[in-house]
Symmetry: C2
Subunit: 350 residues, 2 copies
């Protein structure tokens, strides 16, 4: 009963390597003796690689990555304003290209306020929801362009593309998740302005809702949703939303639950046709890179999401519990990236 | 030295009429004996009018409104889910039609945390910034459509249209405002994903910045901006952003500064070719309509923005100060809509 998981690791730029090192530490510890071996391949991708070779993500890279069962990514992105990166868009060329090429149509972002986590809200109450962000459509498709670029007559368009196929599959995923949680689903969009895309989201949610009579469904405009995230985040269980709204809501959600240093995410292809990818929500933070200042917790929780996705739910829970205890007891002491990883690893063994 | 201002009043739906009544009360009191007379015309527009006549905003309505110097609007929108409104989109057909037809390219939304205002943040610090939201372009233009609508093969697109002309004028307005404030301007967009529109915004901000060497300029992605709004709102002075991002940020900003019941806004045509329109950021709240439960403060502060726009800065300041004192001293006592209006009017006279 031994199983081998082929894991692609993309440490990336900035603090990526540091947080991924701790994530691996915890992964190794939790799977030790479990009968599951992780066969790791490291991919050197990101701004650094681009500066060296001019490549962001080649077809060969992509083909090699596809040979894996899962991907663990640290963070990508060079120093903002670096003139050598002026014509590169590492985010689009690497991160979004991976999400789109690997059909990561579920961008799963849990938000939980752990006991002891420092948050900005005076009276947060219990916060425990999951944002199911669509990952392959919407304003992220790259269907934009401009004419008379750089002149006073420039016109630049960006087109959000949305399909019933793409919405239905992510909505179904969200309802299934809501069934396993507190049976509440909130659609977030802006139907009164984006009437065509919004109307389709609403129609499909209403249709799929009929198959889930136990799930209570409501709808919020994205602007109103941000209000509730700071005044009553406890009202949310599962949020399903489009790519751009999901991007915005999950950063805000990360902030209200103690900071983006704790926020994990999975870019999931539920069909299993392509490997899913797990990454902290935070960026590469080049300003603190290499200084052991980054909190690896988000990367470690991303490993838990990965293990859960791979069916290793017991191992995933052990990590989550170890993190929970670590947060509850961490206090104000400042620790290095490695110290946080070590502490969580130690708690695993407890 | 008498002057007459022709004011169009659109109470609208739900709590609109109640909050506008208090706004008028305060307007009348502050301009009494000032030599400026307000010649008011009331327009019955909104969901109620639509249900009666089938009209949302006719050409005749629009022509009549254009004859005025300014517009005061309460709130529009019927009861959510009202089947009779199924095919109407009062927001698009009335509110957005007014903003677009009257070329309200500056949507001005100040955010200030008044002493005594209840906010959700544990440690908000001083909050005093203004969002300059573009009002006539972006994803709000209505350039969307769908094919195979209602089927499993539906494709729905929404196109954000952005012009150098449209961006430059609102960016110039924002820089001028920053000059008169704390000389700080933050562009919010999502340049790493919406590369064409975002790139143009960035380029124009960089260009206009050269004419304002005293103004410190920075840039935030919209997702990061929401984080700062809850972790360090004091960092903002003037935010300039597109129509959709401005919609989202200002609701969140309203929430962190004590609720949408205090948030005022101006839809401004700085050229003066068309009347500008002033309205609370909140909606029509049909659930509490007619119950004297709504806070008219946002509508009253919208009158102050209007007076300021009309050059009646002394009167505008008197209102702002009266509101400030009222908020500082209001405590927890629950007051009716009219009682709040009366209290603010009384403080004006002090
Ligand atoms: C880096 C960027 C392209 C990305 C996104 O917008 O999706 C990030 O903000 C995220 O949320 O993962
Ligand atoms: C009602 C709606 C169309 C409007 C908008 O999105 O602009 C509102 O949310 C606002 O912010 O004034």
């Amino acid at each position: 009963m031994s199983r081998t998981v082929k894991l692609a690791i993309i440490p990336g730029d900035g603090i990526g390597a540091e947080v991924v090192a701790e994530a691996e530490k915890v992964l190794d510890a939790v799977t030790e003796g479990s009968g599951v071996a992780f066969d790791k391949t490291r991919f050197s991708l990101g701004a650094a690689r681009y500066l060296e070779t001019g490549d962001t993500l080649t077809d060969a890279d992509l083909d090699a990555i596809k040979e894996h069962d899962a991907i663990l990514l640290g963070a990508v992105g060079g120093v903002p304003g670096d003139p050598r990166l002026k014509d590169a868009n590492i985010e689009r060329g690497l991160l979004l290209k991976l999400r789109f090429s690997l059909d990561h149509y579920v961008n799963l972002r849990p938000s939980k306020l752990y006991v002891g986590a420092p948050g900005p809200l005076a009276d947060p109450g219990e916060i425990d929801f999951v944002v199911v962000r669509e990952g392959t459509e919407g304003p992220y498709v790259g269907n934009g362009g401009s004419i008379r670029t750089g002149t006073a007559q420039e016109v630049a368009n960006e087109t959000s593309v949305n399909t019933a196929f793409g919405i239905e599959r992510v909505v179904r995923y969200a309802f299934d998740l809501a069934e396993r949680r507190r049976q509440k689903l909130t659609l977030v969009h802006k139907t009164n302005v984006l009437v065509h895309a919004g109307g389709m989201w609403k129609r499909i949610v209403d249709q799929v809702a009929q198959e889930h009579p136990e799930v209570a469904v409501d709808y919020l405009h994205v602007d109103a949703a941000t209000i509730f995230l700071v005044t009553n985040p406890g009202r949310f269980d599962v949020i399903v939303t489009d790519n751009l709204f999901g991007d915005i809501l999950t950063d805000l959600a990360g902030a209200v639950t103690g900071g983006i240093g704790l926020a994990a995410s999975g870019n999931i292809n539920p069909d299993g046709a392509f490997p899913s990818m797990f990454e902290p929500v935070h960026g590469s933070a080049p300003d603190i890179a290499g200084q052991q200042k980054a909190d690896p917790t988000a990367a470690i929780l991303s490993v838990a999401l990965m293990l859960d996705h791979l069916g290793l739910t017991g191992e995933a829970q052990r990590i989550t519990r170890a993190v929970e205890t670590d947060i509850a007891e961490r206090g104000d002491a400042s620790r290095t990236t490695a110290q946080v990883g070590d502490a969580i690893r130690t708690r695993l063994q407890a």
